[in-house]
């Protein structure tokens, strides 16, 4: 049996760790301070392949249960220059919520109160740990919806979504999380508290002052800690319908998307599953009985009952000449089932090769719509070149693709090839005029590409970071490339042992 062995990461002396815990237990009044070796172990990962290979264990973890806890932690960290890494559900894929430079992981998932649903003003005020699906269940009772909809809806927290500017399947029509955040309460690195989007405001629009809300959204906890969000809501669409179209030639799926846009319809989601993803979906949900071909497209339209039927028929007619099978449904159980298969396909691809699991690496590229077929072919060629199975799915309507790499984490050679393949996929996206992260965020995993992707703009970002966080204690090594962790990142040599 080969066992994956890694070293225990100890960054500071035990005396320091215990001293910090003792101090913080006094200062943190409602939350919990964890310092036992076993307790902090589980704050060393997110869903990334990077931390799957090697957890980056913090010196301690604090489960905050109030804004006062967050302020106390930040004041203390500021005084002693201790790195602090905010963390939501740790469902991210970029190692953006682990303590890459040691220090404190500040868990915000237990700050999960929905403070107010302001129906008349179409807003929700909540704490960062509220899980996306729960928020939408609650606002649905008022006939409202918080439109951003990540595949990870059942685990992602709204704080994490804001911090990574998550997009999700409906971003193609409704835009990213940043479009739906009206204001934030932020604890700055020195412990001071600010409210962005005008203090005490319930305005739905504002042209007042520098747009600080958008600065903190997507900052991945490098500028401060979000402790409260004022979110914009929409009236919930009355109906939706879904068109599913099967293609035996990949390129025709790309053409179909263009054709639908030309027909003047704006679907609320357009998703693609390639042949391997279809296989995985069928393995997870045999009852779906999806036809396995080169690609499946799912077009969702929402609005009023008559409108969605018209839209769905129109889309079906438009793509029919290109597809081998087209059908549509406005039956909610059928739609929900297809969405469920889509939402779990990411993790379910592990079933494609026994002994392998999904490696969340290189999983979030975004390319121009016109280059999607080229990108999909490119990924397939790289998959052959590196001899690593890759299933690709994603929000084709926005150009966002999720290559799902399979890895046998106990085979050092496999791990090495996955590392090289990941790098090649990232460069493929950049070569084609895209980005290394369409919606998941940079974290540490994609920090090395920031220089190539942003050029001189990166220096401007750094100046902003420096102004707000002069001591560099907020989530260091995330986003900014000079700060790639000194700990082995993707290290094939970590895998040892005989068979």
């Amino acid at each position: 049996m080969t066992i994956l062995r890694t070293d225990v990461v100890t960054r500071v002396s035990r005396a320091t760790r215990v001293a910090m815990a003792t101090d913080l237990r006094r200062l943190v009044t409602t939350g919990d301070v964890l310092d036992a070796t076993t307790d902090i172990e589980v704050y060393g990962y997110d869903a990334s392949f990077l931390t799957q290979l090697k957890p980056v264990v913090p010196d301690l973890a604090v489960i905050a249960r109030s804004e006062a806890d967050v302020i106390a932690v930040m004041r203390y960290a500021h005084e002693h220059r201790i790195p602090v890494t905010p963390r939501g559900a740790a469902s991210g894929c970029g190692a953006g919520c682990v303590a890459l430079r040691g220090g404190i992981v500040l868990a915000l998932n237990a700050m999960n109160r929905v403070i107010e649903i302001d129906g008349p003003n179409g807003q929700a005020i909540c704490e960062p740990g509220v899980v996306h699906a729960r928020l939408n269940e609650l606002v649905a009772q008022s006939g409202l919806i918080f439109p951003p909809d990540p595949g990870s809806s059942r685990m992602a927290t709204v704080g994490g979504m804001a911090s990574t500017n998550a997009h999700g399947v409906r971003a193609v029509k409704y835009g990213p999380t940043s479009s739906w955040v009206l204001g934030l309460t932020v604890v700055l690195p020195n412990g001071d508290v600010i409210e962005t989007g005008s203090v005490g405001s319930r305005a739905k629009q504002s042209a007042s002052g520098l747009e600080l809300t958008k600065l903190f959204v997507g900052a991945e906890g490098t500028l401060g800690v979000i402790t409260r969000l004022r979110l914009k809501l929409l009236p919930r669409p009355k109906a939706r319908a879904m068109v599913f179209a099967v293609f035996d030639v990949l390129e025709r799926a790309g053409e179909a998307v263009q054709a639908v846009y030309r027909s003047g319809i704006s679907p609320s989601a357009i998703e693609i599953l390639d042949s391997r993803s279809l296989r995985a979906a069928n393995l997870y949900r045999p009852d779906l009985g999806l036809r396995e071909a080169e690609a499946l497209l799912l077009f969702e339209v929402d609005g009023n009952p008559a409108g969605v039927r018209w839209d769905a028929e129109q889309i079906a007619e438009t793509v029919r000449p290109l597809a081998v099978e087209v059908d549509w449904s406005d039956q909610e159980p059928r739609i929900a089932k297809l969405w469920e298969a889509r939402s779990v396909v990411g993790a379910a691809v592990g079933a494609l090769r026994p002994g392998s699991t999904r490696a969340y690496a290189g999983e979030d590229i975004c390319v121009p719509l016109s280059r999607i077929p080229e990108t999909l072919r490119g990924i397939q060629e790289l998959s052959v070149k590196y001899d690593v199975p890759v299933a690709t799915y994603g929000h084709i309507g926005g150009g966002s693709l999720h290559p799902a790499i399979l890895v046998n984490g106990r085979d050092p050679d496999d791990v090495r090839r996955v590392i090289a393949l990941t790098d090649a996929i990232h460069h493929l996206a950049l070569d084609l005029g895209g980005t290394v992260t369409g919606e998941h965020g940079v974290g540490a995993a994609r920090a090395p590409y920031m220089t190539r992707e942003h050029g001189a703009a990166l220096e401007t970002m750094r100046q902003i970071k420096r102004a707000l966080d002069p001591h560099g204690i907020m989530n260091p090594a995330t986003i900014f490339p000079e700060d790639v962790p000194p700990t082995p990142a993707l290290d094939a040599s970590l895998v040892t042992g005989g068979t």
Binding site: M20, V42, R81
Partner: protein, 487 residues
């Protein structure tokens, strides 16, 4: 800046070797190490040494290592987990528990009291397994860890003695079990209970929660001694003989449910055989670290049912059913038993799973006018056995029964085997939460299919003063299918 524009694969390879020298405009990140000065070493807690891993533990853990590695840490399980929902602590969620046991298996962390506590707090409700898209099976990991750690677990002498008595002496013998239940009956009807309750003695010794769970019953035990109950009804489905797994609690303290099950099966046209030699399924042993005890009970159960050939084995307790279906996995490495266990497990069906395929005689309403009913999914029926639609379908067949769903329907009620005795506080919190969800539906009756849930719901609903009646699905179907003359 430009100098860093290398291919990233190279950059990564570089970073593997040594800490990168921070150069150029990257001088902002100055924090690498920090110290909190002026602390005495007496502040040190000696919790890191851990407990030595008992011999044989490593092999038990490694047998489930593949299963642990399947976890991709997506976090989908978190909100399904009762203890994570209550605490918000990653250590108290499925992903954290798997990470801990994996790190333990890899030798990266020691076995500590904290780790054991987090593991022990798990209700083994299997909700995480149910939602996991990567195919992790939590049950076997947990059975392995509890069995691996058990020799090292520090327990007070009296607890050890109690465990030995319960696991080695009481559960393996149905006559002893029946004797104990009979004593409980005496305790209830003699007035001793009333005196102890009124005096506050139970509260004083911390047993009041456990006492609240005791149901009122008559000792009309169903003793499985090889008897067969003949079929009734019109025989439209064809006569079939089924074997009944009577259970330990079900055939004694809740014997009325077993009797009801037999009657409903008879009315569905089945002959019901009760093979002798059967007893407890061993689920409590498996979930309490006594793997050997579980294996021994599994073997005697399998042997006693082999007389029935390939007949369906019908069970009316979700918890026992899940265990019986798990025998194939439990004994997979035992050369003498693997195929026998697999064959037995393939015969096991929950009563609702079986009855959903049968025609039941004309159903009567269970009350005057319409009765609002909500169904509580027992974790080991819904999560472990994936049986959720069949009981609901059976309930919908009852005229005048209005089925309504409760909020958080997949969240555990806190019963979880003996969890409500070993972890009364968490169990009470979960039970009260469940009671609130039930009351919010306005249902007059809550139906379940597991003895633990049945007792827990009764206790928690009573504590809130609710009049909602708790019934096992077989009791309700018994009433609905009873010949009119007998009603």
């Amino acid at each position: 800046m430009g100098s860093r524009m290398t291919r990233t694969g190279d950059a990564m390879a570089e970073s593997l070797v040594a800490p990168r020298q921070v150069t150029g405009s990257g001088d902002m990140h100055v924090v690498l190490r920090y110290t909190i000065p002026g602390r005495a070493s007496s502040d040190l807690r000696d919790d890191d040494a851990g407990i030595a891993l008992p011999s044989g533990a490593q092999a038990l853990l490694e047998a489930e290592y593949e299963n642990m590695l399947a976890c991709v840490r997506c976090g989908l399980c978190l909100t399904s987990c009762p203890t994570y929902v209550l605490t918000g602590n990653e250590n108290e969620g499925p992903r954290g528990r798997i990470a801990l046991v994996r790190a333990l298996t890899e030798g990266r962390i020691p076995l500590t009291d904290e780790l054991l506590t987090h593991e022990d707090n798990c209700l083994a409700c299997d909700a995480c397994t149910d939602v996991c898209p990567a195919g992790v099976h939590m049950g076997p990991i947990q059975v392995a860890l509890r069995a691996a750690a058990e020799p090292a677990v520090r327990r007070p002498v009296w607890v050890r003695a109690l465990r030995t008595m319960v696991f080695d002496w009481l559960f393996p013998s149905m006559p002893r079990f029946r004797f104990l239940v009979w004593l409980v009956w005496i305790y209830q009807v003699s007035g001793i209970r009333a005196v102890l309750r009124a005096s506050g003695f139970l509260r004083l010794i911390g047993m009041s929660d456990a006492d609240d769970l005791l149901p009122p019953f008559v000792p009309d035990f169903l003793i499985a001694s090889g008897q067969t109950y003949p079929p009734e009804g019109d025989g439209s489905d064809g006569a079939e003989t089924v074997d009944l797994f009577a259970g330990c609690v079900m055939s004694t303290a809740l014997a009325s449910v077993d009797h009801a099950t037999v009657r409903v099966l008879q009315r569905s046209g089945c002959a019901v055989s009760c093979p002798s030699g059967q007893g407890c399924c061993g689920a409590l042993h498996a979930h309490s670290g006594d793997r050997a005890g579980a294996v021994s009970l599994a073997q005697s159960t399998i042997a006693s049912f082999e007389v029935g050939g390939d007949r369906p084995v019908i069970v009316n307790s979700g918890g026992c059913g899940a265990m019986l279906k798990e025998y194939g996995h439990l004994l997979a490495d035992d050369l003498d038993w693997a195929s026998r266990a697999k064959r037995f497990s393939s015969r096991v069906m929950d009563a609702s799973e079986f009855l959903a395929t049968r025609t039941l005689p004309v159903m009567h309403p269970i009350g005057a006018g319409s009765v609002r009913v909500t169904y509580q999914d027992a974790c080991h029926l819904s999560h472990a056995q994936k049986i959720t639609s069949q009981p609901r379908e059976l309930l919908r067949r009852v005229p005048g029964l209005e089925l309504t769903e409760m909020a958080e329907r997949s969240l555990c009620c806190g019963s979880a085997g003996v969890y409500n005795v070993t972890h009364p506080e968490t169990a009470r919190e979960l039970g009260s939460r469940k009671a609130e969800s039930i009351i919010a539906t306005g249902a007059e009756v809550v139906v379940t299919a597991n003895p633990g849930c049945y007792l827990q719901l009764r206790a928690r609903l009573q504590a809130t003063g609710s009049k909602t009646e708790v019934r096992h699905i077989m009791e309700l179907l018994d009433e609905a299918t009873a010949p009119v003359i007998a009603r």
